[in-house]
Amino acid sequence: MKRGLKILVAILRIYFLHIFAVLAVWLGMYYPGLDIILAILYLILLWEEGKHSAQVLRDHKKQGLVAVLWQLPGFFLGASVLLGLDRLTDFAYYFVFILELWHTPVLPLVSLIPAWTIIDKPIYYYCLFLMVPVLAILYYLPVRKKVNPLATLTSKTDLTVMM
């Protein structure tokens, strides 16, 4: 597979995982407790997907690029709110609204944080912005682990070639 195509497939896979996690975790909130289990499952799948991408892409820059492109909606919405750019539009209130919906897969875990407020804002509000880099790093982290080249070989033919 060509390198560009590998990156595209990695991006599509992580978007697919994320969007269906948004839907599943949201419905999971109907059964309190199930949402927390699904949020933990999401983080495990994200980690596994990061490991898979690390093996396929074999380049920390490409893995980082995929992580950034995946969290681009969150970064755009978060930066717009923090810099006040959202107020230039007629839809200012919806930016943080959509940012919260984007982070639905991890909200069950954020909802367990005590309801303290800092400078008139609840802690979960700050988490909405922090989650963008945290999730991107979680996806990127597996690339930092040294991958045994033999572990990535899948067939006997590959082993023969190596020998």
């Binding site: 599943a24 999971g28 109907y30 699904l38 943080v96 609204f97 919260e100 909802s111 609840p122 509000y125």
Partner: protein, 209 residues
């Protein structure tokens, strides 16, 4: 063990959340089958109808400067405000009056919080409601709402659970735990409109369409 191998399989793990989503969708649909029988007053019907008309948000309007007196409000009363073209009914926002010109309400950026009552003057649609209950029940409902300050606002929060809230759910739950259900149709979600339709409330004041 099988779950671990599912998670590790690069093909199957992509199907986990779509499958979970479909199963939950079916379970929730079965649990709320009564809403499928043409409940035109259900939130989901209102949303769908508004969506077809191109209305998807809480509506927009020009700030109204009408002189409305809130002097007669008592703690536990419900305040509804609305803009034209709101996707989920005549009213887009709700708050429970907690005394001292403050209402407990929900916003994404403030969570559940006490805010100035006066901002309801800006709404073109306004309704003040009194729940028909004893003073003791109303005080308990107010105390319940205030005890949840700082908790998470989530726009599409289901009625179940006590970790996600929207402006209407906190009011509904505050009275529901006291034994007063303000949602007569047992809807999937609760919207500000539900309160004005409840037989357990009396309208103190109303303006708008």
């Amino acid at each position: 063990m099988q779950i671990i191998s599912l998670i590790r399989n690069k093909k199957y793990r992509m199907l986990l959340f779509p499958v979970i989503f479909l199963i939950l969708l079916a379970l929730i649909a079965m649990d709320n089958i009564q809403l499928a029988s043409g409940r035109r007053d259900s939130v989901i019907y209102t949303y769908a109808n508004s969506f077809l008309k191109g209305e998807i948000g809480s509506g927009y309007g020009i700030a109204s400067n009408d002189k409305v007196s809130f002097a007669g409000l008592e703690p536990g009363d419900i305040v509804l405000g609305g803009w034209p073209n709101c996707a989920y009914g005549r009213f887009s926002h709700a708050g429970i009056y907690v005394g001292d010109n403050m209402v407990l309400e929900g916003y994404v950026d403030y969570g559940l919080s006490a805010q100035e009552l006066s901002h309801y003057l800006n709404y073109s649609e306004l309704c003040l409601l009194r729940v028909e209950a004893s003073r003791e029940i109303k005080d308990k409902a107010v105390a319940y709402a205030l005890a949840h300050q700082g908790q998470m606002f989530y726009p599409v929060a289901f009625k179940q659970g006590e970790r996600y809230w929207n402006c209407s759910k906190i009011i509904w739950q505050a009275y529901n735990v006291q034994g007063i259900n303000l949602d007569i149709i047992n809807d999937l979600w609760i919207a500000p409109e539900s309160f004005s339709a409840s037989p357990s409330v009396k309208i103190l004041y109303e303006k708008g369409t």
